[in-house]
């Protein structure tokens, strides 16, 4: 398994990234404020408005270091990708599969099974661990309904039906999301998912976590030679990493949702870590973003045993492991894509 390297987050809005030898140099007002050797990095996530030098971009592309640009508020702007290399045969096969409704359904079904299974598990964990603090009956009911959807999904006959079940399962799961917020309940609440812009603190945290996760997944897909822009369940649309959107489904609950809930419940973020704008959009402040990212990276280093590979890997490599399995499935080495079942 690949080694997990560091990701550099550039959160200051007015800094410029350049290349010097084999190191990235971060400058603010023409003063070097940081430098890191590139061989320790696997990605750069940049919230700055000034950007990076072409020389740095070239070096990163050559060394498989992803660069992703976000707006200072964390909305996705662009990703840098170089010359498309790697396994042409694999990619061609991926395109063919994406055109076959039947195969798309097979694989999408597994994405969604993984997703609902993990959401159910998220609920079950809270029921078990905090039986005195959550409405157990209500959540048990939700978990039971998710189980029902799981069996129904295996019988779904087309993508639309599948999407329908997914939507219903999503409503059930998010209906039980608010009870999992155990602390700071007056400031952190969840009455439904909203985005662009997020209208409450929890939604803004979820959006930010999903952005980071999508980026990790797109990078992982590219590393194994798949095209992140050609999906099976999400329709192709220019500029959308559809395959990354497919793959994130099964990883939302165990990686992003769990992370956001623990940030709130451990009180690592407080109500004043957010800015509320006139249009009711809510964003985290710069200093809180550092707390968020630090915890996010720490979380990635925690070890789990991958349920399918039976190997101990850090959480941060789970997207990579799944991308690898997906490539194997597309190549025909395994007859089903094994989704990530959280244990």
């Amino acid at each position: 398994m690949r080694q997990m390297l560091n990701v550099l987050f550039v959160t200051k809005p007015e800094v410029y990234m350049g290349l010097q030898g084999e190191t990235i140099v971060v400058r603010e007002d023409n003063k070097t404020i940081a430098r890191y050797p590139l061989h320790n990095l696997e990605g750069i996530v940049c919230f700055s408005n000034l950007g990076a030098s072409p020389a740095l971009m070239e070096k990163c592309v050559q060394n498989n270091i992803s660069i992703c640009f976000l707006t200072p508020t964390g909305r996705f702007r662009a990703r840098v990708i170089g010359e498309t290399r790697g396994n042409v045969l694999l990619r061609k096969k991926q395109y063919r599969v994406s055109d076959m409704e039947e195969r798309c359904l097979d694989i999408s079904r597994n994405f969604i099974i993984g997703k609902i299974y993990n959401e159910k598990w998220q609920l079950e964990r809270y029921i078990r661990q905090y039986s005195l603090r959550v409405p157990v009956e209500e959540m048990k009911l939700a978990s039971g309904r998710l189980s029902k959807y799981l069996t129904e999904i295996t019988e779904s006959e087309n993508l639309d039906q599948l999407r329908g079940y997914e939507g219903m399962a999503q409503t059930v799961y998010f209906g039980s999301f608010d009870p999992m917020i155990l602390n700071q309940k007056s400031d952190f609440f969840f009455h439904g998912r909203n985005k662009r812009p997020p209208e409450d603190r929890v939604n803004s945290l979820l959006s930010f976590a999903y952005t980071l996760l999508t980026n990790d997944i797109a990078t992982a897909l590219e590393t194994v030679g798949l095209d992140p822009y050609v999906g099976f369940m999400h329709q192709d649309r220019p500029g959308r990493a559809s395959l990354a959107s497919d793959l994130i489904e099964e990883l939302r609950a165990p990686i992003a949702d769990r992370f956001v809930l623990s940030l709130i419940n451990r009180k690592q973020l407080k109500s004043n870590d957010f800015e509320i704008n006139e249009n009711h959009s809510v964003y985290i402040t710069d200093s809180a973003r550092r707390t968020f990212i630090n915890a996010w990276q720490k979380n990635k280093q925690e070890q789990i045993t991958h349920p399918y590979l039976n190997e101990k890997i850090p959480w941060g490599l789970v997207p990579y492991a799944q991308a690898l399995l997906l490539a194997r499935y597309i190549r025909g080495d395994v007859d089903q894509y094994p989704p990530f079942f959280w244990k």
Binding site: Q3, N6, V7, L8, F9, V10, T11, K12, V15, Q20, G21, E22, T23, V26, I33, A34, R35, Y36, P37, H39, N40, L41, R290, I293, N294, W296, Q297, K298, Q301
Partner: protein, 96 residues
């Protein structure tokens, strides 16, 4: 694996000055400068060989010296920093 690289370059001659600059430049490519001629690096075996080779091509074996310390994988417990010159930890998130 964590490696500490230290060097002493004899700078009495002008060629010494240029060797010093070149050595520093190579080290900066592989790790972080923690003191004037001390670098901490996270390297694998291949990368370590690469730095060694590059440095050996530059230094003058009669006048300069190089030292490599292997700190193993558990870097945190072995290094303590006090005073000025803040450094970053390789395992922490890199945030600017």
């Amino acid at each position: 694996m964590y490696i500490l690289i230290t060097y002493d370059i004899n700078v009495t001659s002008t060629s010494g000055q240029s060797r010093l600059r070149r050595v520093a430049k190579i080290c900066e490519n592989y790790g972080q400068r923690v003191q004037n001629s001390v670098f901490e690096c996270r390297l694998n075996e291949a990368e370590l060989l690469k730095v060694k080779k590059q440095l050996l091509e530059v230094i003058n074996m009669d006048m300069d010296s190089l030292r490599f310390y292997r700190l193993g994988d558990n870097y945190d417990k072995k290094v303590q920093h006090m005073g000025a010159k803040k450094t970053y930890k390789f395992d922490d998130a890199f945030i600017v």
